[in-house]
Symmetry: C2
Subunit: 350 residues, 2 copies
DNA sequence: ATGAAAGCGCTAACAG
DNA sequence: CTGTTAGCGCTTTCAT
């Protein structure tokens, strides 16, 4: 049995396809009488518009793609969890791509290539792409960039103020009396802008407190994973003069660092205080709970989707803007040492 | 400037659209000479086929949708991470939906409703849907179900042998000398089949060892999250006769339980041994590392995608089958107590 | 406010 | 092996 088409509906309702289309899309003005007739016909036939046909006719797919380096990194998973419903609410389906931080893969995506018609816009959290790479792309692709890049004026950028957030994190460590503070996660090369902003905050906090920065306490890592934190922390503890606090560039790094510290029989925060970044759910349940910088993930998701849909809607190129979303310092056991029940230190959920 | 179309290519190459289509899709036999001509024209014009048009013509979207309850649950994130490349390799794009375990939402999806033409098939990990609900659905939708359901013969089901795996987990606790073993995560109601299978394994292990089951040690939880584990564990420790081991129905539950135990100044595994389920990455880094049941996630992803694509390809309905994927018991510190470096107890990655 | 008709760009049945 | 041609089902300009 053939699927019922718009034409079938038109016939049954005794109107033209044009009118049915109008009713379905709520377009032009339609008499209440005809609208009722059409709607009855639709109900009777169980008609559902064929999205594929509509896509071809309109030249739009009604889909946006979200590109992240890793899906199983809690931060990105949590972000996606927020983006999907926000997009759905505006009538867009979400396609997901993961790139493993591969520069070529990311580059191909923003160049659009073979999947050109598959999505109307893109939200990307680049890892492998350097700042300049972002400018070499399909200029017609509506684009919103997440994380630590700067807009070149052709796309929007949504993120938190990383330097300010990092400064707060390190200032917090100083405020609780720590003086030998290490940083884990620096990436002093073109694609490591995220990391560099955090290092900048690390320095700023020292300067504000009138403390010198021990350069040897800034440890670089290729990625922001647990293993990186665990390894870097081991190196720090092997020193003759280990730090009494560490600013980790992600909660995952913090988790790895804590693992190493506890594994050596030392205590957190008594021997070494730890603060992370991202406020992933794990940090609220780890032992000890992890102090962190909490970006407003829902805010990021909502803003990114709103801007992207706006860009798609406006046929014209829109000037790219920098959008800052609020963040918050969440002090938990890994710096304060205060114990509590399973939800101690958890920021109240909305 | 108009996009170049297949017709433009045909013209430039001096052949018919039909031939260009053949070349692009590698369909019928084409002379090497004409193929070369066409390919040159394609390159010259920078032609990219319009997926939207192709979709309409073929009646297929080239997309599959993966439906999970929560994206930010590590187990699902890790599974998705495996599914996406597997699907991409077979030429399918992946749409992702999260349902929050909402029965209605899941029901609407397998009924297909308005997005009927948007995807050619579905992989779903149902949470809110009971076994019977799965049978009430669009019979033309190629479907592969993940997790703990049974096939009703119209769809495929991919999963591990939960009863066997659970039995192994509990037998492991018995093998290390524990006798008062609790279970956290039972769900004795229609949508709790996953949980019930694990409870079945829990009983089976006791029976095999000739141990009685203390029914009061089987704790129900609404979900499999950290907070559920933390709360249930607190109740267990409040008893006059607390358990000396706990089988947790997910690693997240285990993580919450450990949080509670350590928070009370008790030790894992000395005072209470813990084993989880799923082998999420967190478990390899938590303190202590968590013993668990490791399902072959890549195997599940590959099998699910393969079967689904096969179903889509065969126009005819295919008899649904039960597909079992291997699992493995991974003993880590939370049961063995052995310490190690950051990767101790980690199952070697492929 | 509604009808008629021309595509959107591709695929595939039907020749040849 | 290749050309011709008729749609896929919807949107949308142009009339009326």
């Amino acid at each position: 049995m053939r699927e019922t088409t718009l034409r079938d509906v038109a016939e049954l309702a005794g109107v033209s396809p044009r009118t049915v289309s109008n009713v379905v899309n709520g377009y032009a003005k339609v008499t209440d009488a005809t609208r009722a007739k059409v709607e009855r016909a639709i109900a009777e036939l169980g008609y559902r518009p064929n999205v594929l046909a509509r896509n071809l006719a309109t030249g739009r797919s009604g889909q946006i793609v979200v590109v992240v380096p890793y899906l199983d990194t809690p931060y990105f998973a949590e972000l996606l969890q927020a983006i999907i419903p926000a997009a759905r609410k505006l009538g867009y389906n979400v396609l997901i791509d993961q790139t493993d931080g591969d520069r070529e893969h990311e580059g191909e995506l923003i160049g659009r290539g073979s999947r050109r018609f598959l999505f109307d816009g893109m939200i990307i959290s680049p890892l492998g792409l350097a700042q300049e790479d972002l400018s070499v792309r399909d200029p017609d692709l509506p684009l919103v960039v997440l994380g630590e890049r700067r807009s070149d004026g052709t796309f929007d950028h949504v993120g938190i103020d990383d330097v300010a957030a990092s400064t707060e994190a390190v200032s917090h460590l100083i405020a609780i009396g720590r003086r030998r503070i290490a940083a884990i996660g620096d990436q002093p090369y073109p694609t490591g802008e995220a990391a560099q902003l955090r290092t900048k905050g690390f320095r700023a906090a020292h300067e504000a407190a009138g403390l010198p920065v021990d350069e040897s306490l800034i440890i670089g890592t290729a990625r922001f994973n647990r293993i990186d934190g665990a390894t870097a922390m081991a190196a720090l503890l092997d020193r003759a003069d280990p730090p009494d606090a560490v600013f980790c560039y992600s909660d995952l790094v913090a988790s790895g660092a804590i693992h190493t510290i506890l594994g050596r029989g030392l205590r957190v925060p008594e021997d070494v205080a730890i603060i992370g970044y991202d406020d992933i759910e794990d940090g609220r349940y780890s032992q000890p709970t992890i102090s962190t910088i909490q970006p407003d993930k829902k805010g990021i998701a909502q803003l990114a989707v709103d801007r992207l849909v706006m860009r798609i809607g406006s046929g014209q190129p829109v000037a790219g803007v920098e959008l800052k979303v609020p963040h918050k310092l969440i002090a938990r056991e890994s710096t304060t040492g205060q114990k509590g029940g399973p939800t101690a230190g958890v920021h109240p959920l909305p």
